[in-house]
């Protein structure tokens, strides 16, 4: 092979690299490992991880993934392909993306969807950029204080560098202060309004009349929801939103310590040319068969460069396959049951925690689905209770302040696990810390 290249040594392949730039030593890395050694390495790491019985949500949900999903997503025809630039040999990828888009529009109640964004936070940040680009001269966006703070942080980062002003719509008693929102809209300089449902505290907010107010101010309404909840809650489409953007991890993707997940972004037909990323459309081939292709590419970076709607190129394609298969298996009925079971478990646990005497509901008047905030009433610290739970193999929720815990229940939690959690709270409310540590709470 070297001979064909007119060379005598492999070094000659790098004759164009100045000597001064060449690395004159080996990388400080280990020598190569056999497959067995790699396995040992990972198994040794794995031993130092301890998955916990999960009552935490806060944007990351422990739903069940049916066996079919991962078995088929591992097929190398799907796994080892790239962006379907050659539709003649990529109908598999194109078709599942088309199905994914169809399903996401059904869930969100919107008209169109793209092929995926990186995650919920970046999807929402890009929805914000869509609103600003749509408004042309306005660059202010207002965001409810009830939005998940992680999402807010990502939005703030994007906004800071893109020159977008982000202001907070205050909250009252766990929900968005809609009067304050109306006042902020009255300034006339708002390009977009971002509202969560259910919100960060798990509360289902009542957004009646909001879309009209937002549209009257010539702004776009952007809503975000964990995708699974859209099986039962009122959809962004039904609320009159222009864009729905958020996280679809709850549709069959394992927790995976934060990724890979999938950000969805759906909108009205009027906004389709503002959508970021890939979009798959149906057409016909030279034989007249119905086939699928990447379409409306004139929005994208490889054609429009700095005028593109977004810089996204590689996205989360394979995770769209997860969603398509998950929703095919579950159907509307299964997704409803997932929500029923999750909500039933959450309401049951909420009652038990209140009865334990250790906690009270932070927002007792507010409706919630499967996530809620409890306030710790004990003499000792909430952190101590959390630690005791952890040592018993349970993640009791996410501490959102020194004495508040955001708790989530999904269909994967059994009655026994929920009862054990409640029992720990009961015991805790009666015990002092030293006694707690001596009590065997793991049964």
């Amino acid at each position: 092979m070297l001979e064909r290249c007119g060379m005598k040594s492999l070094e000659e392949l790098y004759s164009d690299v100045p000597e001064s730039l060449k690395l004159k030593r080996d990388y400080e890395l280990q020598p190569q490992m056999s497959e067995k050694e790699v396995r040992d390495f990972f198994e040794e790491l794995a031993v130092r991880n301890q998955p916990l019985t999960c009552f935490a949500g806060a944007g990351f949900y422990d739903h069940y993934t049916p066996a079919v999903v991962q078995s088929i997503a591992a097929r190398s025809e799907f796994l080892t392909a790239y962006t379907p630039y050659q539709p003649e040999i990529s109908q598999g990828t194109l078709q599942y993306i088309f199905e994914y888009q169809s399903m996401m529009t059904q869930l969100t109640g919107m008209e169109v969807s793209n092929a995926s964004m990186y995650d919920g936070t970046t999807a929402l940040a890009e929805a914000m950029l869509m609103a600003v680009s749509h408004a042309r001269k306005k660059n202010r966006v207002i965001v409810s204080a009830t939005l998940n703070p992680i999402y807010r942080e990502v939005i703030d980062t994007y906004a800071h560098y893109h020159g977008v002003t982000v202001d907070t719509i205050p909250e009252v008693d766990g929900i968005t202060d809609l009067n304050a929102m109306r006042e902020m809209l009255a300034a006339g300089d708002v390009a977009g309004v971002i509202l969560p449902t259910p919100n960060f505290y798990g509360i289902l907010e009542d957004y009646t009349g909001v879309a009209d107010a937002v549209h009257a101010a010539k702004a776009l309404l952007i809503m975000t929801a964990p995708a699974s909840t859209l099986g039962v809650i009122r959809t962004p489409g039904e609320w009159g939103a222009d864009i729905a953007a958020g996280e679809a991890q709850s549709l069959g993707m394992p927790l995976n310590f934060g990724g890979p997940y999938l950000g969805y972004i759906c909108c009205t037909k009027a906004l389709i040319r503002k959508l970021p990323g890939r979009i798959v459309g149906a057409t016909t081939d030279a034989d007249g068969q119905r086939v699928f292709v990447l379409t409306l590419q004139a929005r994208e970076q490889h054609i429009r460069r700095d005028k593109a709607t977004s810089n996204i190129c590689s996205n989360q394609g394979l995770m769209a396959l997860y969603v398509a298969m998950y929703l095919s298996l579950m159907g509307a009925k299964g997704l409803r049951e997932v929500n029923e079971l999750s909500a039933a478990g959450a309401h049951y646990l909420a009652n038990r925690l209140v009865e334990s005497g250790a906690f009270e509901l932070k927002y007792p008047e507010r409706p919630f689905l499967n996530e809620f905030v409890v306030k710790f009433k004990g003499e000792v610290k909430l952190a101590d209770f959390v630690e005791v739970c952890n040592s018993c193999g349970c993640l009791p929720g996410v501490m959102i302040s020194d004495d508040e815990l955001l708790v989530c229940v999904t269909e994967t939690r059994t009655k026994e696990e929920i009862d054990r959690y409640a029992w720990r709270a009961e015991t805790f409310s009666k015990a002092t810390v030293p006694a707690m540590n001596n009590t065997d709470m793991s049964n």
């Binding site: 190398s76 080892t80 970076q301 996204i312």
Partner: protein, 493 residues
């Protein structure tokens, strides 16, 4: 690949009452009925009703109309479609990783944090950088993060005038697009006929309004930018920073490091150089590295290593409190595409220091071998030693009317994926070929033979090439109709 087109959409297989799931009862009392009905959806989503076997057959059948690296040769330039070892999949699927919730206390995720930390250290060594974040989700997201780091650096110095980014005209589309998302204006700099950046054209563009210069090295035509030391000096002299688009890092493995070339900030596409599967478009991963002095600007959260009471290493997450006030904040929900990062770690461990170096060198050898084997029939606009990829400007004989698109489609008939076409934009008929190191000489020779056959066909029976593909599951789709009247959901079909 199955030549018979499957083509059904799952919604078409739906029959009322069928179901493909089973869920456990938890015995708790229904709570949905107690929620205000106007907060619930009024109409059920129209999702398919199908049994499990139908789902399995449907997606299996669909997959047989798809082409992946495991199907055959995939010389898609700029994408580094190397083989993705199976052990990496298995390691990333260990339940002790997949079941971890981000909010678990750090004591229960020490293995996961160590994996992240270890990969971050390895990439720092490979890139010649001081520190990496693995949080960005893909190359373009890495570019965006890197440009934000650069802006944060200028801002921290009170240098607010730097609003421009300079990118070569050969740059990938994500470079200017990322600059725009980061709120920067794009200025293009011309390339010389040899494909490298024109240093003299760059010089007058450099002033106190430039935040960064973005470069890919080797560049998108596969040529090493040998003037990089001079360029780095010029860029730094004007107070700007030099950004390295690491999409093309593969050929430099073990040979040269971006940090040693004068780059300040870089990203790496783990789904290219470090062999994580491309998944039909993702998920990828785009770690960002910075040289010493810029670590404080990296995004949160970060994995930090301390020493525990017993002297063992102890890993935990830092949300910006330890590294000072200048951290970017967040650019992603947590620690990026974690399971992709695990695959890249497994890959680096498998190859080790010598294997990585050999990978880069063999990728370069394979590319040069194809180039030299076809240059008599395909137009080689830049006649130099290339790195991991190179670009032809179509067939040498332009009289046949056979275009790059035709050649690409004809390759599909022969069981190969097409190269990248019509990019970079420097040439009209770009055909960008990147074989990668994981292909054998036999595969390369087969590809070369087919490319030569196509050139002969173009001369003798041009219509055969122009009408390609003929052997694929579907024929050429009507893209214009798709864009004119977008049908993007089943409801609109």
């Amino acid at each position: 690949m199955n030549k018979k087109y499957y083509g059904k959409v799952i919604f078409e297989l739906s029959r009322p009452g069928r179901q493909g799931y089973s869920l456990p009862a938890n015995g708790c009392e229904d709570a949905l009925a107690g929620l205000p009905s106007d907060l619930l959806r009024t109409k059920s989503p129209e999702l398919p009703e199908v049994d499990e076997l139908t789902v399995v057959r449907h997606y299996n059948n669909m997959s047989t109309n798809n082409f992946g690296v495991d199907t055959g040769f995939y010389p898609l330039g700029s994408c580094t479609m190397k083989y993705n070892p199976k052990i990496n999949e298995e390691m990333a699927s260990l339940p002790a990783f997949t079941a971890l919730h981000p909010f678990q206390p750090s004591a229960t995720v020490q293995g996961a944090l160590e994996a992240y930390y270890t990969l971050q250290q390895m990439l720092s060594e490979i890139g010649g950088m001081a520190e990496f974040t693995l949080n960005p989700y893909a190359g373009a997201h890495g570019e965006l993060t890197g440009l934000m780091v650069i802006r944060a650096y200028h801002e921290s110095r009170g240098d607010m005038k730097r609003t421009k980014v300079i990118v070569p005209d050969s740059a990938h589309g994500t470079n200017p697009a990322s600059a725009a998302v980061a709120g920067l204006k794009v200025v293009e700099v011309k390339s010389l006929p040899d494909g490298t950046v024109d240093v003299e054209a760059l010089r007058p563009l450099l002033d106190e309004t430039v935040a960064a210069v973005m470069m890919t090295n080797p560049n998108t035509v596969g040529i090493f930018e040998h003037n990089i030391p001079e360029i780095a000096e010029m860029v730094h002299a004007c107070g700007a920073l030099l950004y390295y688009d690491g999409a093309n890092l593969n050929p430099l493995l073990g040979v040269a490091r971006p940090g040693d070339m004068g780059f300040d900030v870089m990203h790496i596409n783990l789904h290219k150089t470090f062999s994580t599967p491309h998944g039909g478009g993702g998920p990828g991963s785009g770690p960002v590295g910075v040289r010493a002095g810029l670590e404080q600007f990296l995004p949160n959260p970060r994995v930090v290593k301390h020493t525990g009471d017993n002297g063992d290493p102890l890993f935990h997450l830092d949300f910006g409190t330890e590294k000072g006030p200048h951290a970017l904040g967040r650019i992603s929900a947590w620690l990026g595409n974690f399971a992709v990062e695990l695959r890249a770690l497994a890959y680096i461990l498998s190859l080790g220091r010598d294997g990585l170096k050999l990978a880069g060198t063999l990728a370069t050898l394979n590319a040069n071998y194809i180039k030299e084997s076809l240059r008599d029939l395909y137009e080689l606009p830049i006649d130099r030693v290339c790195k991991h990829e190179f670009v032809f400007d179509g067939l040498t004989d332009k009289s046949t009317g056979v275009t790059t698109l035709n050649v690409a489609k004809r390759l599909l008939d022969h069981g190969f994926h097409a190269p990248t076409i019509y990019f970079p934009l420097l040439f009209h008929e770009s055909l960008m070929i990147e074989p990668t190191e994981t292909e054998s000489k036999e595969t390369l020779d087969e590809f070369i033979a087919v490319m030569r056959d196509i050139a002969r066909e173009a001369a003798e029976t041009p219509d055969v090439v122009k009408n390609a593909p003929l052997e694929t599951p579907i024929r050429k789709p009507d893209d214009t109709a798709a864009a004119l009247n977008p049908v993007v959901t089943f409801a609109d079909l």
